[in-house]
Amino acid sequence: MRRKRNILIASISLTALAFYFLQITFVNTVLAVGQNVPDLLLILAIFVGFRLGPMPGSIFGFVAGFFQDVLTGFYGLQSLTKTLVGFFSNLFINQRVLLIEKYYFPLIVLIGSLLHDAFYYWFQSLGSKLEFGSLFLQYGVVNSFYNGILAFLLYLMTPRKFLDFVHYDPRHEFDY
């Protein structure tokens, strides 16, 4: 159990690191549509929360968010939003939907991204002349759909072995 837990943490960390570098290099330039860019780490935070439970989801979300905060210089905002999304994505887990997970998971990513971006852009609009509505429609909604589509493609590309390995079983939750 402990060995599997360590392998799990290492594999998720390596994936996160790869996603982080992909995000600041390939995704931000090649996959950008205007100013709309998908958020790989948000997708991964939702995946971790969804598959492994609320605690790993929130811890992963916090760490991933903090690393993104370092880039923007606005400390705490992404940490907070990704923590919440990582935690609450587990509410959607349901044994029956795991059969159709490749369609279900992108939907969770879409909803999670919408909530994440709603909070993020609401906070950005505080005390400024920016209108939350237009900001959210222009960036939040489009980015969320982009995240959903990318989540679907990533899910299809993820090896079955890895998906089976990172599997959440509420009856035998990992002893983190």
């Binding site: 860019v37 609320p54 605690m55 929130s58 916090f62 705490g76 940490s79 907070l80 923590t83 920016l130």
Partner: protein, 288 residues
């Protein structure tokens, strides 16, 4: 006594075990809020003002109305007064800081020999990958594509998009930004580009055997296609000769602090004559 204490501890462990997910979430939220508190930007100032306003309202309605104890009433009055003064203090501090900043900009505008339009930043791109600023001046105000954007400290960036009332400025700290530049002391030329660090850019193209020192001022070059010459970019903050290749690895601390940027000037004058005159190089250093 000993077993009672043990039972109490066991009960506590059980509670922690049951609610551990929520405790971790609470802990992470508290850490995030502490991190947010460490920032000093308009959003946080706005929230602080709201919090003080709400606490002032609450204090107004929840004060002890009983007149039985004189000292309690006095204490409430003093607390109310303290809250009012704190509110006023925040407003005055904001106004004072803005006043100091605007005075500096006004002084700079008076001594700057080129035509400029003052503009306010109304939006900083939340995406770290597209480092752009949206300004509240556009085509109607005389802003055009490829005009330089500056502050009294130095170069901010370049206008890349203009609508009737707004314009977009690409800043130095952008992956695709490049500018021809020179070292003021030795006149060596090179290219300025962003390396991913906040308020820091790289300077490429200076051979390892040439003279560069920490503290050297970097200016836009006469070879620059988009920028007028002699705009201050920053100061050399680090030099590394221990890298592969024939060029030095030079890091520049930008003259402009991009974290605190609120107002800028768009340089509408595109003639190179004024900025090529002697003495212009020091206009950003306040030595003219």
């Amino acid at each position: 006594m000993h077993w009672k204490f043990r039972n109490l501890l066991d009960g506590l462990y059980q509670i922690i075990d049951i609610y551990r997910n929520y405790l971790v979430l609470l802990g992470l939220i508290i850490v995030s809020v502490f991190l947010l508190q460490a920032n000093n930007n308009p959003q946080l100032t706005y929230i602080r003002q709201r919090v003080i306003f709400i606490s002032a309202l609450l204090a107004n309605h929840s004060g002890d109305q009983s007149e039985a104890i004189e000292s309690v009433r006095d204490w409430n009055l003093l607390r109310q007064e303290n809250i009012d003064l704190a509110k006023r203090n925040i407003v005055l501090e904001d106004a004072y800081l803005e006043n100091v900043k605007l005075r500096q900009m006004l002084k700079f505008s008076a001594r700057f020999p080129l035509q400029t339009i003052p503009a306010q930043i109304i939006f900083k791109s939340p995406n770290p990958r597209f480092s752009t600023l949206t300004l509240n001046k556009g085509f109607r105000d005389g802003v055009r594509k490829r005009q330089s954007v500056i502050t009294d400290k130095g170069l901010v960036g370049l206008i890349v998009d203009v609508s009737d009332d707004y314009s977009e400025c690409q800043i130095l700290l952008d992956q695709t930004f490049r500018a021809a530049a020179k070292i003021q002391r030795t006149r060596l030329n090179g290219i300025v580009f962003w390396q991913g660090q906040p308020n820091e850019v790289g300077f490429y193209g200076v051979l390892k055997n040439l003279d560069v020192r920490v503290g050297d001022v970097i200016l836009t070059s006469d070879y620059s296609e988009f920028f007028l010459p002699n705009f201050c970019i920053g100061v050399v903050s680090g030099i590394n000769n221990e890298i592969a290749g024939i060029f030095k690895d030079i890091r520049i601390q930008t003259a402009v602090d991009f974290n605190r940027l609120e107002e800028v000037f768009v340089v509408t004058d595109t003639s190179k004559t004024a900025s090529s005159r002697s003495g212009f190089e020091n206009v950003f250093l306040g030595e003219q």
